[in-house]
Structure formats: C-alpha cells, structure tokens
C-alpha cells in the first residue's frame, strides 16, 4: 500500500495544479490543458508499451500521430462527389498499380536466389512503377485539385461518424507500424531511433504535399465533433436554464433586468465552451481508463512477463524458446496503434487537421521526455509524465513571463535586456523541458514513479 501513496500524491498535486490554473487563468484554459494532458497520456501509454515493456526505441511517434489525424479526415469528412468523378478513377488505378508493384517485388524476392541480378530487377520494377504511377496519377491529381480549390480540392472522406475514425486511426497506424517494423526492427537501438525518426518525416512530408488526399498544407477545417456545438448550446432552452440555476446567487445580486440579461448571456457563452470541453474530457478519460486497465492487465500477465524477459535479456529469452522477432513486431504494432488513436483524438479535439504543424520536436521528442520523466515501464508513471510535461510545456511561458517581470522590475520598461527577455518568454519552455529531462536522467533515471515488479 505504501507504493500507491506516491502515485496518489503525485496525481493529487497534478490535479491541484490544473485547478489552480482554473482559478487564476480560466476554467476554459484549465480544461484545454486537461484535455491535452489526457491525449498526451494516451501517446505516452503507446510509447511506454514500446520502450518500457520491450525496450524498443521509436522516434517515429510524429508519423503515427499524423496518420491518426489523417484518419479523421478520411473517415468523417463528406465525400467530394465531383472530385471523385473527375479523378477518382486515376487514384483507384494508382492503388492497383501499387498493389501490383508489391506483388511483383515479393514474387521476385521469393522466386529467385540472392544475386545482383535480383537486386537490379527489383530496383527497376520499383523505378518503372514510380514512373507509371506518376503518369497515371498526374491528370487525376490535377483534376481533383482544381475542383473548387479554395474549399475542397481533395477527395474528401467517407462521411462516417467521427468516433469511428479513432479506430481507423489506430488501424492505419498499426498497419504502418507493421511495414516499418518488418523493415527496421532488426536494427540496433540507436539506428532504429534514427530510422524511425526519418521514416516519420517521410510520412509527414507525403501528407503535407499530396493535396488530393487531405488538402496538404492548406489544412482541413470544420471537422465533425462527437460533442455538441457551442452555438447550438447557446440557443437551447435547457442549457440556459441550467446556467441560470448554477449562477442564480450571482444573478440575484444584479438589479436591473437588462444588466441581468447581459450577464446571463456572457455566462452562457463561457459555460457552453466549458461544457463542450467537459464532453471531450469525458470521452478522453474513458479512453485513458480503458487503455490503462488493459495495459495494466497485460503488464502483469504471462505475456507481460515474457516481454520484460525479452527486454532485460534477449539471448536468455530466445534460449527459452521465445520468438523475439515476432514479439517485438507485435509490440511495435500495438504501441503505434495507440499513438495513432491519440493522433485521431487530438485532431477531433482541435476540429482541424493541419499537416504543417507536425514537427518532430513537439510530437516525438516531447512525448519521449514524458515517458522518461514519468517512469519507464510503469503505466501510471507514463500517464503522470504526460500530465506533468504537458502542463510545463503550456505553462512555462506564463510562469517565465511572471518571473522575468519579477526579476527585472527594477529596470525601466524600455530596457533592452528586459524587452528582449519578455519577447523570448515562449522559448523558456524548451529550457524547462530540457533541464527537467537532464535532471531526471541524472538523479532519478527510473522516472518519477519507477517501474515495480510484482512477484507472482
């Protein structure tokens, strides 16, 4: 029981901090932070499965996040019929060509022995395939992108409910992880890190520049939501009544009727955004709790023991007859699928898909810092890491600004150093995260909540 005390204390401090933000800044900001903390927690669960359970270092988190986001667009946006008419055929033909290339390459690889000739023929098939793809795709892509380019200019999605896309995002990310795992998992740890980092970069650059797919850097806005819209809430009777009931004591203090109405309007607007965010919080919390239960169960199951055995001593585990290659691939797929789910959740929360915003700094390295800081191999730790680091990432700038003002208050307003420091306040977040990571790595390498092994 003593072990759990730390966990409970750490989480209470975290929740207290978020409540403090609610009191000092606003409840809307506090809930935004909480939602992002929950999304980060899902990502860290995914990364922790790979790193903490199996010791696989995956720096490609950005790629899976982006793919999960893409799934939201592909699933929930209404299809653009005209674009399908003008260019759909070419795109479908391209898919067939890609499938054909894969089969031909597989055929050559299976059928012939390893030789120079085989390598050259595989290379020429791929090169010829790419040229064929470009010839087939070019007119189609041009036609699709010219269909009302300001609003659509892409194929659109399937028009299905947005929650469905979370599953699709996980599936997409998982299948990508299957391919990458087949290619890269044999590599040594630091090579694997570099390879996954670069592959993620390739994926994001494809999403960014293939405008027929999801408008690329032109972004997709106004995505569907699993929660009500603010505008609808503000006009619905029951919601206004609810707000009035909650704030009746405050409203009763105001005497004039017009002032009262104005105050009520403002409250309804504030409350509607809080309500929407609460809906998201509920959804995200459900996902986090389900994942937590499943991963905890898995960690203490025979399977989890096997993974830890492989992590701690590959050769011994292999001697015991465990198939290391297969288990690594499986866990790589599982972890990536969870990250893909988080990517879909994030895009749903934002309501827009901005491929230009996927940068390794924010979506790979910060997530890794979360896992390391929170506690590798411990799900409670990983989730806490997601909360702590995201909180610091968001709140570092206001805190830095406050401190700068405090320490330079004796200087005049126009002092060059002061102005420069105030301008660069947003960048203190990198400093805080970096120093935090270095300190944790040095003095508490197992993270805030270390892994604990229950003897069964």
């Amino acid at each position: 029981m003593r072990n759990y005390k730390n966990v409970i204390a750490a989480y209470s401090i975290m929740i207290f901090l978020i409540i403090l933000v609610g009191i000092f800044q606003s409840w809307s900001i506090a809930l935004t932070i909480l939602n992002y903390c929950l999304i980060s927690a899902v990502m860290t669960i995914g990364a922790n499965i790979q790193w903490g359970y199996a010791g696989l270092i995956n720096f490609g988190i950005m790629g899976y996040t982006a793919l999960g986001g893409l799934a939201v667009v592909l699933v929930s946006v209404e299809p653009v019929k005209k674009a399908w008419q003008v260019g759909g055929l070419n795109i479908l033909a391209c898919i067939w060509i890609i499938v054909a290339i894969i089969f031909v390459v597989k055929f050559i690889l299976n059928r012939f022995d390893k030789s120079k000739l085989r390598n050259y023929s595989v290379a020429s098939v791929i090169l010829g395939g790419i040229i064929l793809l470009r010839i087939t795709a070019a007119p189609g892509i041009e036609a699709i992108e010219s269909v009302d380019p300001a609003k659509t200019g892409f194929l659109g999605g399937m028009g299905l409910p947005v929650l469905f896309s979370w599953i699709v995002g996980a599936l997409l990310a998982g299948s990508l992880a299957f391919v990458i795992g087949k290619i890269a998992l044999g590599l040594r740890a630091d090579y694997l890190a570099i390879a996954t980092l670069l592959i993620a970069e390739i994926i994001v650059s494809i999403i960014k520049h293939e405008e027929w797919l999801a408008r690329g850097v032109k972004n997709v806005i106004g995505l569907k939501r699993p929660a009500p819209y603010e505008i609808d809430l503000q006009t619905s009777e029951w919601f206004i009544n609810l707000v009035t009931k909650f704030n009746s004591s405050k409203l009763n203090l105001i005497n004039s009727i017009s002032d009262k109405q104005e105050a009520l309007n403002q409250m309804v607007i504030d409350a509607s955004s809080v309500y929407v965010k609460l809906c998201f919080t509920g959804l995200f919390l459900t996902v986090v709790i389900i994942l937590l239960i499943v991963t905890q169960k898995a960690l203490y199951s025979p399977w989890g023991r096997k993974m830890r055995a492989i992590r701690d001593n590959e050769e011994a585990a292999s001697a015991m007859g465990k198939n290391i290659v297969k288990e690594h691939l499986l866990i790589f797929i599982l972890g990536s699928a969870i990250v893909g789910l988080a990517g879909a959740m994030m895009v749903t929360n934002d309501g827009l898909f901005t491929p230009g915003s996927y940068r390794p700094m924010r979506y790979t390295f910060v997530i890794w810092v979360m896992v390391i800081v929170g506690g590798t191999g411990n799900n409670f730790g990983a989730i806490l890491g997601g909360f702590v680091v995201w909180f610091l990432w968001v709140e570092a700038a206001p805190i830095a600004l406050f401190l700068i003002n405090l320490f330079t208050s004796h200087l005049p307003e126009t002092n060059a150093v002061r102005v420069h420091l105030i301008e660069s306040a947003p960048y203190f977040r990198f400093l805080v995260i970096g120093i935090g990571l270095l300190l944790i790595m040095r003095y508490r390498p197992q993270g805030i909540i270390p892994e604990k092994i229950i003897k069964q």
Partner: protein, 336 residues
C-alpha cells in the same frame, strides 16, 4: 553546341548546388561520425550545436560590421569563424563536463546517451532562441557572385550561362581545406592515431597509456571546429534560421549512416551522395533533354522524377535502403 548547352544547364542547376550542399552536409556528417566513433553515441543535438556555433558567428559579424571591419570582397563571417569556434568549443566542453562525462564514466548504454543528447538538444535550442530569436537572418556581405550568368553567356556565346555564387565557391574550398587537415591529423599525427586507437578498442587503448580525457577533449575540439564551420557555411549560402538547422540534422544523420557511421571518410563522401541524390532526383530535366532531342520531340512535362517537396524524403529513403541492404554503410563503418 546544343550538347554543350545541355551540359552547362545540368552543371549550373545540379552539380554546383549539389557540391556546395554536399560539402555542408559532409562537415556535419563527420561531426556526427566522430562523436559516434569516439564517444559512442548518436548525438541528437547535432543540428542545434551547429546552429549554436553559427549564432556566435552571426552576432560577431553584426558587431564587426558596426565597427567597420571587413574582408572586402569576402564575407565578414569568415573573420568571425575562429572566435565562434572558440565559443562553441567552450560550450561543448561545459556540456560534456556537466552532462555527458557522468554517463561516460558509468558506461551507460548508447540509448541512454541518445536520450541525454535529446535533453541537450532542448537546452541548446532554448538558449539559441532566447539569445538571438527564431527569425530568419542573412549575414552575407562582400561580393555575391564570382561568375554571373549574363557575363558567362557574353564570354562564351552560349545560350545557357553558369552562375557561381561566392558562397558556393567558399563552401567547397573551405570544406576541402578543413577536411584534408582533419584527415592529416587523424592519420598522420600521434594524437590522431591515439584517437583512432581509442575508438577501435577502448580497453586496449587505455592499457597502452592513452589518456582518455585528452582523447575526449580533442574530439570535442575537432567537433566544435567542424560544427561551427559547417553551420556558418550553410548559413552564408542560404540564411540563418534556427529551425532549419534542426531539420538539417536529419540529412546529416542520413549522410553519416550511408557512409558507414564511425568512418570519417565515409561520412565525407556520404554527404555528397545524399546531396547529389536529393538534387538529381528532384531536378526537372525538361530543359536538359530539350537541348539533346530534335525539336519536334520536345517533352511536354517537366520530366521530374519527384517534386522538390520530397527533397528530404529522397535522402531518407536512401538511408532506409542502405540500412536494409548494407547496415554498416557503403564504406564499412564501425559496429560497436
């Protein structure tokens, strides 16, 4: 005549830029590879360390310009490089003392080192942005061109011209000088030999009386020189922007691995392999082909294998292919 024009088009738009870009990558790749060979970790702070050195050069260039110093036709930045290198080495040694040395003594696994270098990356990036800000800065002065296209056309009477920017020439010349001095040092001097011995087999090197502290110190000094010069040359050629330097780390890694990580000569060539591949695959060959083919056969399309948006993707794909076929790199690297 048409054949000559075609060659000149190709030379102007692919070979010269690729040589310059390749030199910049090569310097970075040797930096990565040296750290990997001697200190035994993949340094994820590479791009930001290069950026940090360049930042000093930029600040000093502005300072010198305000004092009225200059090199005439050459950019003032060349004058500031030695000072920037000193600052850079100082920073690297401080980082090494307070961060890396602890893990080196503990003999931590490379993965832990890599994570620590991520922490260094965050800190370095923060310092750069706090000191100089994230905006785009040009600090090139002096003569911009050595050969202008119009002059070239007038002299030779050809339809196509060659443009040689002074930064490109400086990049290639400086790289060749720095790299040859470095190879001379590594292969011919006693200190260089002791570094290679330490990189090959640490225990045997220690046994034969090589001082590990000295080897580490020299490695950081060389790394500081390479990082700063590579960063300044890139900044002169394009422009100085902290964010871009972080992104450049990726092709630099690709170059180091393609050349065989831990092998400086491989890294040097790897830089050019990556640069040429990036530019050759994304270059539109229309103008080149139209000089070679008779008029009625002129192609309609741009004849571009991949659009320039995929510049980085090309180098990463090469890396993936190399990792699959020959994980030790084209020139057999070190497998620790």
């Amino acid at each position: 005549m048409d054949f000559l024009n075609a060659i000149i088009v190709l030379f102007n738009f692919t070979v010269i830029p690729a040589l310059a870009y390749g030199s910049q990558l090569a310097l970075g790749a040797i930096f990565v590879t040296l750290i990997y060979a001697v200190l035994r970790f993949a340094n994820f702070a590479t791009g930001d360390m290069m950026s940090f050195g360049t930042m000093f050069a930029v600040i000093l260039t502005y300072y010198f310009q305000s004092l009225g110093f200059g090199l005439g036709v050459l950019p003032t930045a060349l004058l500031t490089i030695p000072f920037a290198i000193l600052m850079m080495i100082l920073y690297m040694l401080i980082i090494d003392k307070f961060v890396f040395s602890y893990y080196r003594i503990k003999k931590s696994p490379p993965v832990q080192f890599a994570m620590v270098s991520v922490g260094v990356m965050f800190v370095t990036q923060a310092l750069i942005r706090i000191i100089i800000g994230p905006s785009d800065r040009r600090f090139l002065d002096g003569e911009k061109f050595i050969i202008k296209a119009t002059e070239f056309k007038e002299i030779t009477g050809l339809a196509e011209g060659i443009t040689l920017k002074s930064t490109q020439a400086i990049t290639i010349i400086v790289t060749l000088i720095v790299v040859s001095i470095m190879f001379w040092f590594l292969n011919r001097t006693k200190t260089g030999t002791s570094m290679r011995a330490y990189s090959d087999n640490e225990d045997l090197a220690l046994l034969s009386g090589i001082d590990p502290k000295r080897v580490v110190l020299i490695t950081w000094v060389i790394a500081g020189i390479l990082a700063t010069i590579g960063g300044v040359l890139y900044g002169l050629d394009k422009s100085y922007r902290p964010f871009v330097y972080f992104n450049n780390m990726l092709p630099i890694f690709a170059a180091a691995i393609v050349g065989g990580i831990g092998n400086p000569f491989g890294a040097f060539l790897g830089g050019y392999v990556i640069a040429f591949a990036e530019i050759f695959v994304t270059y539109a060959y229309k103008r080149f082909i139209s000089y070679l083919l008779p008029e009625h056969l002129e192609p309609d399309s741009l004849l571009q294998l991949l659009s320039t948006d995929y510049k980085f993707a090309v180098s990463f794909s090469i890396l993936v292919i190399v990792l699959l076929i020959r994980p030790s790199g084209i020139f057999k690297g070190k497998v620790i």
